[in-house]
C-alpha cells in the first residue's frame, strides 16, 4: 500500500509542481498568473496534437513522439502565454481579469480546434486526441531500496523530465543574472528600472517561461490521468498549483514540499478509503484537503506569507 501511495503521490505531485514553478516565474516577476489553468491546457493540446500527428506518420514502437510531444507542449504553452503578456504587460490590463479570460479562451479554443482538426484531418467526430499510453519504468538499483525504492518504481519518463527542468528553473531563478532581474522586478520594478533593467522585457520572458513550464505539467496530466487530450484537462489543477505556490510562499523548494504534501495526501487518502472499503465517493472529500490546508495556512500564518511586493501592480514607466 505504501508503494502505491508513493507512486501515485509522485505522479500527481510532480506535474503540479512544474505548473507551480511556472506560476512562480510569472508571479515573482510581478505578474499575477491565474492563467496557469489555461496555459497547461493549451500546452497539453499542442503536445497531444503533435503526438497524434507523429504517431500517424511514424507508427508505433518509437519513443520519439512521446518526447516531441513535451517539446511541442512547452512551445505551445509559451506561445499561448503571449496572450497573457499582451493583456497584462503590453496593455497594462488587470492581471486577475486577464488570467480568467485567458483560461476561458483556452478552453473554448482548444475544444474548438480539437473537434475541427479531428474532423478535417482524421475524419472522425471526437473531442479527444487519443494518446499512446506512456511507458513506465523502474530505475535500476534505486528501486531496490526498501520502502523509498517505490519512488523509483513504475516511474513515468515525464517525472524525470520534470525534475530536470525544475532544477534548471531553480538555477535560472536564483543563480543567474536573469533570475536576479526577475525577482527584482517583482519586488520593486522602479529599482530594477533604475538599474537599467527593461522591466517589461523581463516580465514578458517570465510569463512566457511560465507558459512553457505549465504546459509540461498539463501534458504530463494528459498522459497520466486519461491518456488522451480532451476538455477534461481543465479540472482545476492549474488553480491547485496556484494554491501550492502560495503555500510554498513563492519559493521553489517549499512549493515542492507543498506539492508533495498535496500529492501524498491525495494518494494516501485514496489508499485508505480503498483499504477500509469505503465508497470511492469519499475521494472527493480527500480532494478538498489541499485547499483547506492552504486556506488555514493563510489564516494562521498570513503574517509570514509574503507575496512578491509588486505583485499585480501595473508598472507604468511614466508614473513615479
Amino acid at each position: 500500500m505504501i508503494d502505491t501511495i508513493i507512486i501515485d503521490g509522485l505522479t500527481f505531485a510532480l506535474p503540479m509542481f512544474i505548473m507551480a514553478v511556472g506560476g512562480i516565474f510569472s508571479e515573482k516577476s510581478g505578474i499575477t498568473n491565474l492563467a496557469v489553468e489555461g496555459l497547461q491546457g493549451f500546452g497539453a493540446f499542442t503536445g497531444a496534437l503533435v503526438m497524434v500527428i507523429m504517431m500517424n506518420s511514424m507508427g508505433n514502437g518509437t519513443q520519439v513522439p512521446y518526447y516531441m510531444s513535451f517539446v511541442a507542449a512547452a512551445l505551445g504553452g509559451m506561445l499561448y502565454a503571449l496572450v497573457h503578456v499582451i493583456l497584462c504587460v503590453k496593455f497594462n490590463g488587470n492581471q486577475v481579469i486577464s488570467g480568467v479570460v485567458v483560461n476561458i479562451l483556452a478552453m473554448s479554443l482548444t475544444s474548438f480546434l480539437t473537434r475541427r482538426i479531428n474532423a478535417d484531418f482524421f475524419g472522425q467526430t471526437s473531442n479527444k486526441f487519443i494518446l499512446e499510453t506512456s511507458i513506465r519504468f523502474d530505475v535500476p538499483v534505486l528501486s531496490g531500496i526498501p520502502v523509498l525504492g517505490a519512488a523509483f518504481t513504475s516511474v513515468y519518463p515525464f517525472e524525470i523530465l520534470i525534475i530536470v527542468v525544475a532544477i534548471i528553473a531553480w538555477y535560472v531563478m536564483y543563480r543567474t543574472p536573469y533570475g536576479m532581474h526577475l525577482r527584482a522586478c517583482g519586488d520593486n520594478p522602479h529599482a530594477a528600472d533604475a538599474a537599467g533593467i527593461d522591466v517589461k522585457k523581463v516580465r514578458t520572458v517570465a510569463v512566457v517561461l511560465s507558459g512553457g513550464l505549465s504546459a509540461i505539467g498539463g501534458m504530463s496530466y494528459a498522459y497520466s490521468i486519461s491518456a488522451n487530450f480532451s476538455p477534461d484537462i481543465y479540472l482545476g489543477f492549474g488553480y491547485l498549483a496556484i494554491a501550492a505556490l502560495i503555500f510554498g510562499n513563492w519559493s521553489i523548494l517549499p512549493t515542492l514540499g507543498a506539492c508533495l504534501l498535496f500529492g501524498f495526501a491525495r494518494s494516501s487518502g485514496q489508499a485508505i478509503i480503498q483499504k477500509l472499503g469505503m465508497p470511492s465517493t469519499f475521494n472527493d472529500l480527500v480532494r478538498t484537503l489541499p485547499y483547506v490546508v492552504t486556506l488555514l495556512l493563510l489564516v494562521f500564518f498570513s503574517k509570514n506569507n509574503r507575496s512578491p511586493r509588486a505583485l499585480g501592480e501595473i508598472y507604468d514607466k511614466g508614473k513615479r
Partner: protein
C-alpha cells in the same frame, strides 16, 4: 486610423459603452473570419444564433414549439447570468474581485436542492423558500470571504479560488453519496414544486418553459443600480472601492463595507445559483465548478460594471451560447465556435481600459499636431 478611433471612441460621454460595443463588433467580425475560413456562411450562421435564441423565426418547428418557445428558453438561461454578473459588478464597485461566484452558486443551488428541492412542500411555499435559501447561502459564503479579507487580510481572489474547489468537492461527495441519479450521473432532479422554472408549460397550443425569476432579475438589477447610485450605502461602498485610505479617513468603516459588499455580492450569486440549478437545469452536475461564475466576470466587464449594462451584456452572451446549438445543427459547424466568439468578446472587453488610454493618448497627439499645424499657418 488613429483619427477614426478617436472619433469613434474618444470623449467622455458613454465612452465605456462605446468601447464595449466596439469590442463586440470586432469580435463578431473575427467570428465572420473564422467561419469563412472553415467554409461556412457567416451570415447564415449568425442568423442561426438569433433563430436558436427565438429572436428570428426558424424555417420549421417541431410540434408545439415556435419562436416564442425558444425565446422563453433564452430568458431561462439569461436569468442566472444576470444575477451572476450583478454579483461580480457589486464586488467590483466595492473594489473587490469576486472570482468565487461559482462556489457561491453551487452553495446556493445545493442548499436549496437538498432542503426544499427534495421536500414535498407546495409550490407557493417552496419557490420563495428556494430563493431565500439561495440568498442566504450565497451571502454566507460571501461573508466568509469578506471576513477572511478584513480580519486576516487574505486576498479575496485566493480565498475564493480555494472555496470554489472546497465547496465543489464537498457537494460532489454528498451528491454522489446520497442524491445521485444513476442514469444521468447528476443529482436527482428537484421537485417541480420547488423549481423556479415552470417546465413544459402548456398554453396557446404550445409547450414552453417559464423562468419565474426573470422579472426578479430585472427588478434586482434596477434595485442594485438604485442602491449604488442613489443611497448612502452605495456611496460608502463605492468610496471604499475607489480608495480605502481616503474612505477610512472620512470616517467610513472599511471592514463593515467589505463585509457588506461581499454579502451583497454573495446574495446575488446565490440567486444566480438557485435560478441556475433549481431553475434552468433542475439538477447539479457533480465534479464541476460552473463556468458561468467565471463567464460572469467577463460579462460584468462587458457591461461596463454597471447593473443595467449587465442585463444587456448577459443578453448578448446568452444569445450566442443558447443559439449555438441550433447554429451547429444547421451549419454542421462545431458548437464550440460560439464559446470561441464569446471568449474573444471577453478578451476585447478585458482590453477596454487600454483602448480608453490609447484613444485619449491618440486624441492628445492629434490635438498637439493640430495645434502645431495651426501655429505654422498663423
Amino acid at each position: 486610423m488613429k483619427k477614426y478611433m478617436v472619433k469613434l471612441l474618444g470623449g467622455e460621454k458613454h465612452q465605456m459603452l462605446r468601447i464595449s460595443l466596439f469590442a463586440i463588433v470586432v469580435s463578431l467580425i473575427f467570428g465572420v473570419v473564422v467561419l469563412l475560413i472553415i467554409g461556412n456562411n457567416p451570415f447564415a450562421s449568425y442568423l442561426n444564433l438569433l433563430q436558436g435564441s427565438g429572436l428570428a423565426p426558424k424555417r420549421s418547428y417541431a410540434g408545439r414549439k415556435n419562436m416564442f418557445t425558444d425565446f422563453m428558453n433564452l430568458l431561462d438561461a439569461l436569468t442566472p447570468m444576470i444575477f451572476a454578473s450583478l454579483a461580480v459588478t457589486v464586488a467590483l464597485k466595492g473594489g473587490l474581485f469576486n472570482i468565487g461566484v461559482s462556489g457561491m452558486m453551487l452553495a446556493a443551488g445545493f442548499a436549496a436542492t437538498v432542503t426544499v428541492g427534495y421536500s414535498s412542500l407546495f409550490a407557493g411555499a417552496a419557490k420563495p423558500l428556494v430563493l431565500i435559501i439561495g440568498i442566504i447561502s450565497g451571502a454566507l459564503v460571501g461573508a466568509l470571504i469578506g471576513w477572511l479579507k478584513y480580519r486576516f487580510n487574505i486576498n479575496e481572489v485566493v480565498s475564493s479560488i480555494m472555496l470554489n474547489y472546497i465547496l465543489m468537492y464537498v457537494f460532489t461527495f454528498f451528491i454522489n453519496s446520497y442524491y445521485v441519479d444513476p442514469v444521468s450521473r447528476q443529482s436527482t432532479n428537484i421537485n417541480d414544486a420547488a423549481r423556479l422554472t415552470i417546465v413544459d408549460f402548456k398554453a396557446f397550443g404550445l409547450k414552453f418553459d417559464i423562468p419565474l425569476a426573470f422579472p426578479l432579475a430585472i427588478i434586482v438589477a434596477i434595485l442594485i443600480r438604485f442602491i449604488m447610485d442613489k443611497t448612502t450605502i452605495g456611496f460608502e461602498i463605492k468610496a471604499v472601492g475607489l480608495s480605502r485610505t481616503a474612505a477610512n479617513y472620512a470616517g467610513i468603516s472599511i471592514g463593515r463595507n467589505i463585509m457588506l459588499t461581499m454579502i451583497l455580492s454573495g446574495a446575488l450569486a446565490g440567486l444566480a445559483g438557485v435560478t441556475y440549478f433549481c431553475g434552468y437545469v433542475g439538477s447539479i452536475q457533480p465534479g464541476v465548478v460552473p463556468s458561468m461564475g467565471f463567464n460572469a466576470i467577463a460579462v460584468a466587464l462587458l457591461g461596463c460594471s454597471e447593473p443595467i449594462g449587465c442585463i444587456y451584456a448577459s443578453f448578448l452572451i446568452t444569445i450566442i451560447s443558447n443559439g449555438s446549438i441550433y447554429m451547429s445543427s444547421q451549419q454542421g459547424v462545431e458548437i464550440e465556435i460560439a464559446d470561441l466568439i464569446t471568449a474573444f468578446i471577453l478578451i476585447f472587453s478585458a482590453c477596454s481600459e487600454y483602448i480608453r488610454m490609447y484613444v485619449s493618448k491618440a486624441a492628445m497627439e492629434l490635438n498637439t499636431a493640430g495645434e502645431k499645424k495651426g501655429g505654422a499657418q498663423a
